[in-house]
Amino acid sequence: MSHKILIVDDEPNILVSLEFLMKREGYQVVTARDGQEAIEAIGTEQPDLVLLDVMMPVKTGFDVCHEVRANDAYKGLIIVMLTAKGRDTDVAKGLALGANAYMTKPFSTRELVQKIHELLGDAA
C-alpha cells in the first residue's frame, strides 16, 4: 500500500509542482493551504508524511509542527519541513520542534524524493 503524503504550502504553484512530483513517485497526495487546514487534514486524512512549509497565514509551519508533536496520537507522523527560511536558527528551531527533516527551497526534486524514500523506508 502506498503512503499518503500531505503537502502544505500557501503558494499554489509550489503545490502544483510538489503534487505532481509525489504522484509521479506513486504516493497518495492530500494538500492544505495554511496551517489550520494542515492540522485538520492530519486529523482526517492520517497521512504518513507531511511536507510542511513554514511561512503560511493563520498558523505557521512551526506552530503546526509544535502542535502535532505535542499530540501523542501522531507520534509516528513524519514531518519534513520545506521552506525558504534557511537560516541556521530556523533549521535548529525546526529540528528542535520535532521535525524529522528540514529542506530549504529551492530544492532539488531528486534530493527531496530520496529523502522521502529514506524516511518512509521505501526502496529508492
Binding site: 500557501d10 503558494e11 509542482s17 509521479r24 493563520v58 525558504a84 529551492p106 532539488s108
Partner: protein, 915 residues
Amino acid sequence: MIPVALVVAVSFAYLLLLFAVAYWADARSRQGRSVIGNAWVYALSMGVYCTAWTYFGSVGRAAGSGVWFLPIYLGPMLAMILAWMVVRKMIRISRTYRITSIADFIASRYGKSQLLAGLVTLITVVGIIPYIALQLKGVASAFAVLTQPLGGVASPAVPWWQDTTLYVALALAGFTIVFGARHLDSTERHEGMVAAIAVESLVKLVAFLAVGVFVTWGLFQGMQDIFAQADAEPRIRRLLLFGQGQPFPYAQWLGMTLLAMFSVILLPRQFQVMVVENVQEQHLRRAVWVFPTYLLLINVFVLPIAIGGLLYFGDRPFNPETFVLSLPLAEGQTALALLAFVGGLSAATGMVIVEAIAVSTMVCNDLVMPLLLRMRRFSASRSGNLTGLLLTIRRLAILGILLLGYLYFHLAGEAYALVSIGLISFAAVAQFAPAMLGGMYWKGGTRRGAMAGLLLGFALWAYTLMLPSLAKSGWLADDFLQHGLWGLAWLKPEALLGLHGLDNLTHSLFWSLLVNLAAYVGLSLWRPPSAAEASQALLFVDVFHRQAGARPVFWRGKAQVSELRGLMTRFLGGARAEQLLRDYARQTGVADVAQIVPDARLVQFVETQLAGAIGSASARVMVASAVDEEALDLDGVMRILDEASQLRAYSHALEEKSQSLERATAELREANEKLKSLDRLKDDFMSSVTHELRTPLTSIRALSELMHDDPDMDGAQRQQFLDIIVAEAERLSRLVNQVLDMAKIEAGQADWHASNVDLKQVLEQSAGSMAETFRERGIRLVLSLPDAVPMVWADADRLTQVVLNLLSNAAKYAPRDTGIVDVHLWADARRVSFEVKDNGPGIPPDQQAMVFEKFRQVAGDQHYRPGGTGLGLPISRQIVEHFGGRLWLTSTPGQGACFGVELPLDARGRSEETH
C-alpha cells in the same frame, strides 16, 4: 615704704594663685576639657612678650628719649601683619613633624643635623642670659623701691650669698620646674603654663592701666594737662619729637623695628607660645590683631607716666624706670603700688618661666641628648626607661639658666639700662632669621649655609655687642673696645671697618645680619644639598601643598616592630608607647598591634613621636640605630618624590578616566541597543527578501526538473508548467527590480527626473493601461477628474508607478464582478490631491500602519494571495514623500480602503536636495 614681709607675702600669694590656675588647667586638660583651646587665650598668651622691660624699661626709655620706647612694639605689629602666613606655616610644619623648639626646627630642616641643633641651642642660651638678667634686675629694683624709703640711696652691692636677687632667681627656678618639668609630654604642651600666662597677661595689662589712669587723672587733669605742663619745660618738650640727638636716627629706628619684628617670632618663649602651644591654626587669625591691640593698650600710658613722673619729681634723682612704683608710693597709694609691683613681678615671672622651659627643652633635646647618645656606653644599654633621665636633665637646665642669668646680672647688670640689655638678647636671636625663614621658603638652603651663617652671625654679635657690654661693666679689659682688636682700628667692635656714627645696636645688627645672610646664601649656593637636606627642604617648604596620605616617606630599609617598640618605651614610657602603637594600628586599618607592618611609614611615625621627646636629630640617630637602613642619596630622594607625585597624578587621572569610562559605557550601551534593533530590522529585511526571491525560484526549479525528468510528459501538463514557470520568472524579476528600486531610493541613489507633471494626465494614462485588468475582473473603474489641475513638480514615471501600484492594489482587493474603484482628483491653493478607493474588505485599524511596511501583506484573507511583492506601497510612499507629498490610508473594515495622495505645488525646493 612697705614692709618687706608684706611684699614677700603678696608676691608668694600671687605666684601661688598662678600655680593654682596652672594646676586647674592641667587637670581640665587631662579630663579632655581644655580651657586653653580658644583664640582669646591664645592671643593673650602671646602677651608674654611684655616683660619687666615693658613695665620698667619702657617708662625709663620714654623719660630719656621720648617715643623711642615704641619701636620694640611696632616691630611686632609688622610681624603680625605677615604672621597669618609665616607663623601659620611654622605651626603647620611643627605640628606635622613634631617639632618642639627653634633648635629642633632649624636642625630638622637642614637634614636633622645634630650639630646644627647644638649650635642653635648654644646661641640661644648665651643670647637669652642677658634677658633673664634683665628680669631679675627689674624685680630687684622694684623690690628695693617698695621696701626702702622713697628716694633713698640704692643699697650697696652685697656679696652674692646675701643678695636677695639670688634667692629670687632660685625661687623662680623652683616655680618654673613646677610649671613645666613635672612630667614629660612628647608634644611639649603645657596647658597649665599657657593658662597661667594668659592670666598674667591680663594682670599686667590691668595693673599698668591702673597706674596709667592714676597718673593721668589722679596726679594730673588728664592727658592734655600733662602735655600742657610738659610744654613749659623745654627738656621735656623735646622728648615729644622724633630726633633725640642720635646720628642717623631713622636708621636706628628702622633697625630697632626690624629687630623687634624678628624677635617676636624667634625668641624661645614666643616660639613656644605661638607655635608649640598652639591648639588650632585658626586661633592665629584672631591673635594676629588681638595681640597688637594688647601691645597698644599696654603702651598707651607709657609716655604720660614718664612725663608725669618727670614733672612730678622734677630734678630729684628718681629712677624713671620705677616710676610705676614711685609715683603711687609718693602719693601714699600703697595698694596701687603693690598692684603695680605684682604687675611687674607678673611680667618678669611670665617671661622667665616660659623662656626657661623653652630653653631647657632645647638644652635637653638638642645639646645633652646628642652628647649622651654619642657615648657608646649609653646607647649600648638598650634597657631602661629614660623618661626620668630626661626630666632630670630639663630641671637641671632650668636651674642652670637662671643661675647664669643671675651671674650676668651680678657682673654686668648694674652698668646698663634694662632696655639695652634686652636689645642685646634680641640681636642674638635675630641671627636665626636667615636660617629659619630661609629654610621655610627656599628649598636651596643647605646645612652648610645655615651653619656658616649662624656661626659668623653669632661671632659678630658676640664681638660687637656682647663683649663690649661686659667690657663696659668692667669685667673685661676695654682696650679692644677703644682701639680695636690687636690695636687695629678697623676692628673696633663698635665701628667695624670704620663704620662709625651708628649706635652700637644698629651697627651690630647691620654687620651680623649682613654676614649671616651672605654666608647662608653663598654657601647654600656653593654646594647642592644632600639627600637628607633636600628631602627635608621639600617637606618643609611644601608643607601646605601636601596632604597626609600623599606625603612621600623618605626612607628605605628594613625594620622590626619589636625594635621600634623598644625605642618608644625607652623614651616615652611603656604605657604611652602602647597607646601610640594602638593608634597607629587603627590608623592603618590593622586589626591588632601584632599585625603592624614594619614599613617606612611606621618608621617615620615612630621617629616623629620620638622627636617630640628628644628632638628630631636625636630621634633620627636612635631610629637609625634600631633599624636596618639603606643610605638614601639624592637620586633616591628624587625617585621617591617622583613616585609620590606620579602616584598623585595617576590617582587623579584614574578618577577622571573612570568617570569618562562610565559615561562612555552608558553611551556604548545605548548605541548597542540601537544597533541591535537595526540589526534585527536588517535581518528581517534580508530574510524577507530572500524568502520572497526563493519562492518563485522554487517553482521554476521544481517544475523545470519535473519536465526535464519526464520527457514523455503530457503536452497540456507541460504547457501548464511552462506557463507557471514564465509567470514566476516574471514575478521574480519584478521583485528583484522592486527590491533594487527600494534600495536605491532609500540610499538616496535613485535617479529622479523631475519636471512639471500633470496629474490628470498621469491618472488617465494609468487607468488606460490598467483597463484590461479591471475588465477581466469585472471591476468598474470610475474616474472623477476636474478639467484641469495645476502642475506639480515631480518625476512623471515614478508618479505613474505610484498610481499603477494603487490601482493594482485596488484591483486585487475589490470583489470580483461587483467591485468598484473610484479615482478622485482635486486641487486647492497649495496642493493637488487624489484618492483611489475600492469597495473591498478594507483593512483593520491595527494593520493599517503595517501596510506600508516592507513585505508585509494583509493577513486576514487567508487564501487570497494577492501575488504582490509587498514592496509596492512602501516604494510608493517613498516616492511621494520624496517630492514633499503624503500618502495615507483611510479604511473601515467591511467598507473598503481608500488611499490618498497629495503633492504640494511648491515642491521644487525640496526635491532638489536629495540627489
